[in-house]
């Protein structure tokens, strides 16, 4: 397992300084209370892009740093700590990955530099229901002249309301749940026939439901092979899962540290509540789970960078373990804070709300346990 190199330590430290100073939890609170339409702060995103975070995984030829997924994970962990809302996951992680894995030279040249520069928001539109099922695709793409016509709906698309570029997973052949017959399309956010409904979620981030009615795209909008898009989709999703898991570890770590601080300061019955052994053991178990999950996330990101053959299992492992520990950490945060943790004025509720949305995104623990078992042949 790779230990951080000097550049990575610098990247992490810079991310920590910036998020703690420029993007504390209060920033998310402000986005929420001002009912931000995009769900993120454009100026902050510009800052982040200027620091190079939008291009961490993008090749240098396309304006990125070619610094790998483990490095992007370091940034995500720090943004996760302060619940920073940004297009990092949708654009710099997921859409960039899909373009890198499946894009033609022309597509990469057209889009990756813009992503690296933070000029556009891009996103992957895959799910069509409230649960993650990447092979269950009903949205159709029908051949029309040299291009295609897309019809159907997408649900809970990250930054889907503000995205300039949508990577839409469509069915070009086969039955609704077949892995074969899936094709990815690049669709412009301003395409005719595209309707977007931005949703207000508990975590105050912006996701959108999309309706595509007779949306026409040209032949060069196809990303990767026609009918054979599922492999790229799955590889993209595994990288997105591992990256999101890094963000979640950051969120869980911060939730734990805030709680630990509270245990050390709050007194009841003339004792710091952190001296009560039942709470000590719960804290120690939570710390154990956190360290175990952290290893999984690092291993998954390392595997991606090293192009290992166990990326799929490790990505499911990382996502599931990060989800489980974040679930527990956020619940314990509320409970150990007692009444104050139930108030909107305290941050505990924000951590818990973000936790559940992140848990469900790209598949929950139940989905990934099932997938891990399938990959393990049982």
């Amino acid at each position: 397992m790779a230990v951080l190199n000097e550049e990575q330590v610098m990247l992490r430290d810079a991310a920590r300084d910036w998020t703690q100073e420029k993007s504390p939890v209060a920033a998310l609170r402000k986005l929420r209370d001002t009912k931000s339409a995009t769900g993120f702060d454009a100026a902050a995103w510009t800052d982040m892009a200027q620091m190079g975070w939008a291009g961490v995984i993008i090749p240098e030829a396309h304006g990125g740093a070619d610094f790998g997924y483990r490095s992007l994970g370091l940034v995500l962990e720090e943004t996760g700590r302060t619940l920073t809302a940004s297009p990092l996951v949708s654009t710099a992680l997921t859409a960039a990955t899909a373009l890198m894995l499946g894009g033609s030279e022309a597509q990469q040249a057209a889009w990756l530099p813009k992503i690296a520069a933070g000029e556009i928001v891009a996103t992957l539109a895959v799910d069509e229901t409230a649960h993650h099922h990447p092979s269950t695709i009903a949205l159709t793409a029908t051949k029309s002249g040299s291009g295609y016509v897309l019809n159907g709906t997408k649900s809970f698309v990250l930054d889907g309301g503000s995205a300039d570029l949508l990577i839409v997973v469509a069915r070009t052949s086969g039955a609704k749940s077949d892995e074969a017959g899936i094709t990815l399309f690049l669709v412009d956010g301003s395409a005719k026939g595209l309707a977007r409904q931005t949703l207000t979620m508990v975590d105050s981030r912006a996701v959108a439901n999309l309706t595509l009615s007779q949306v026409e795209v040209a032949a060069d909008a196809v990303l990767g092979p026609v009918d054979g898009g599922f492999a790229i989709l799955e590889q993209t999703l595994d990288r997105a899962r591992a990256g999101l898991a890094a963000e979640m570890i950051g969120t869980a770590t911060q939730a734990f540290e805030i709680t630990l601080d509270y245990l050390k300061t709050r007194t009841q019955f003339g004792q710091g509540i952190g001296t009560f052994q039942a709470l000590q053991h719960r804290a120690a178990k939570l710390y154990t789970d956190l360290e175990l999950a952290r290893s999984c996330v690092q291993a998954a990101l390392d595997a991606i960078d090293e192009k290992s053959n166990d990326i799929r299992a490790l990505a499911s492992l990382a996502k599931a373990k990060a989800a489980d520990v974040l679930h527990l950490a956020s619940n314990e945060m509320v409970q150990m804070h007692g009444g104050i943790g139930m108030t909107d004025a305290h941050d505990a509720g924000l951590y818990m709300k973000r936790a559940r949305v992140a848990e469900a995104t790209f598949g929950g623990s139940s989905y990934h346990r099932d997938r891990y078992a399938k990959l393990g042949g049982f």
Partner: protein, 395 residues
């Protein structure tokens, strides 16, 4: 038993004749009959039903008639409950006065205090709130600091309470205050006063669920007549503990509710999909089955504890686990519900979600308070370990 049969017939006839039709339907949260001077009635029949029941004293069926109650025996009260259940009649009144204050007034108050306060609880004229917790005194309630100084004919109250349920809606407060700063438990008194007294200021606290059922309540030089002290000076802790018992009983037996309607497994079948009549996600299905079994075990335990307590004339030791088990169960139910709904269960407001989904999501957030309010689960477990299992304090 013939006597009860007669009572049953009369009661059934009276309810049939008097309970408005809309009061026989499930009660939406916004029609909860909290009454009081500030009470509003979205459905006017709510008020009609309250007044009819209060006139018979049936909002407090077993309280003595002298104080406005129904004067019913336990057997008769049970019949009334059954007959109301038969026609699915809504409770006519929700009231901390009924559930918490009234029972301790019956036990500890002077005759004058009883005559003054109990009838207005029965009728719903006065809505009460509870001034217990303080910012520095949560689980360790007895460390409370709100001072009441003896000023001859009155006490002068200064301090701050927190988690006062609906203090902004209430007319009067029952309040724990410190009347002796040199001792802990023995320096606490139990006061009643009007929320319109100058110097009382409730400020709603917004919760993570978006609701504000609680307030911070500030007292600045609030003058409380000495006649409004219940029980002995510095004898409030005993009353406070007794009242907490009633509160816990109320929280446990009422359960934490949750929206009525579809069962968890129905939500899962519809949101997750089904294969051969089973919830498609086998892992989630197994966890839902385990939860349903826990819920059934809990319901059976409530029934058993009631039967044992009744038969034994004493409280079954298993009673001590009820609040803890109820909180754990309700929180688990909501976690499963939200998981089963997927992203559709994580909406805050607005388009894209059904009303039912939004209610369940808020209910999930609200449920996090179950293991904190009315004694945290940690305190519950301490109590079981010490009082029921006889384990000793760490020295």
């Amino acid at each position: 038993m013939a006597e009860l049969d007669d009572f049953r017939a009369e009661t059934r006839a009276w309810l049939e004749a008097n309970c408005p039709q809309s009061m026989r339907t499930p009660m939406p949260g916004e029609e909860t009959p909290w009454a009081g001077r500030k009470g509003t009635y979205k459905n006017p029949e709510t008020k009609i039903w309250l007044d009819l029941m209060a006139a018979k004293g049936w909002t407090a069926p077993t309280w003595p008639k002298a104080y406005g109650g129904g004067g019913l025996s336990r057997g008769e009260a049970k019949v009334l409950e059954q007959e109301m259940g038969r026609i699915k009649a809504r409770p006519p009144l929700f009231s901390f006065g009924l559930w918490m204050l009234g029972p301790v007034l019956l036990e500890y108050a002077t005759e004058e205090q009883k005559l003054s306060h109990l009838p207005k609880i029965v009728s719903g004229e006065i809505r009460w709130c509870q001034g217990y917790s303080e910012p520095g005194a949560g689980s360790d309630l007895a460390s409370l600091q709100t001072r009441a100084e003896d000023k001859g004919d009155h006490y002068l109250v200064n301090g701050q309470k927190v988690w006062t349920s609906y203090a902004d809606q209430a007319d009067w407060i029952f309040c724990l205050v410190r009347t002796d700063t040199t001792v802990k438990h023995e320096g606490i008194s139990f006061l009643l006063f009007d929320m319109t007294t100058p110097g009382v200021e409730p400020r709603p606290i917004k919760l993570i669920s978006g609701e504000s059922p609680f307030c911070e309540t500030f007292f600045t030089d609030v003058k409380v007549p000495k006649a409004q002290l219940v029980g002995k000076l510095n004898g409030g802790w005993e009353i406070a503990k007794r009242l907490l018992q009633y509160e816990r009983q109320n929280i446990s037996s009422g359960g934490f509710g949750g929206a009525a309607g579809l069962e968890l497994e129905q939500v899962a079948l519809s949101h997750v999909g089904e294969v051969d009549g089973k919830i498609a996600d086998a892992d989630l299905r197994a966890r839902i089955a385990a939860h349903k079994m826990d819920a059934k075990a809990f319901a059976l335990t409530v029934r058993r504890v009631e039967a044992e307590s009744k038969a034994g004339g004493t409280i079954s030791p298993a009673t001590s686990i009820i609040k803890y088990a109820a909180a754990t169960l309700n929180q688990h139910k909501y976690e499963l519900l939200v998981e089963a709904m997927g992203h559709q269960g994580l909406g805050w407001e607005g388009e894209g979600f059904t009303k039912r989904e939004l209610i369940e999501t808020r209910g999930w957030l609200r449920s996090k308070g179950n293991s904190i309010e009315g004694g945290t689960s940690e305190i519950n477990l301490n109590v079981v370990a010490k009082r029921v299992l006889g384990l000793l304090d760490h020295q």
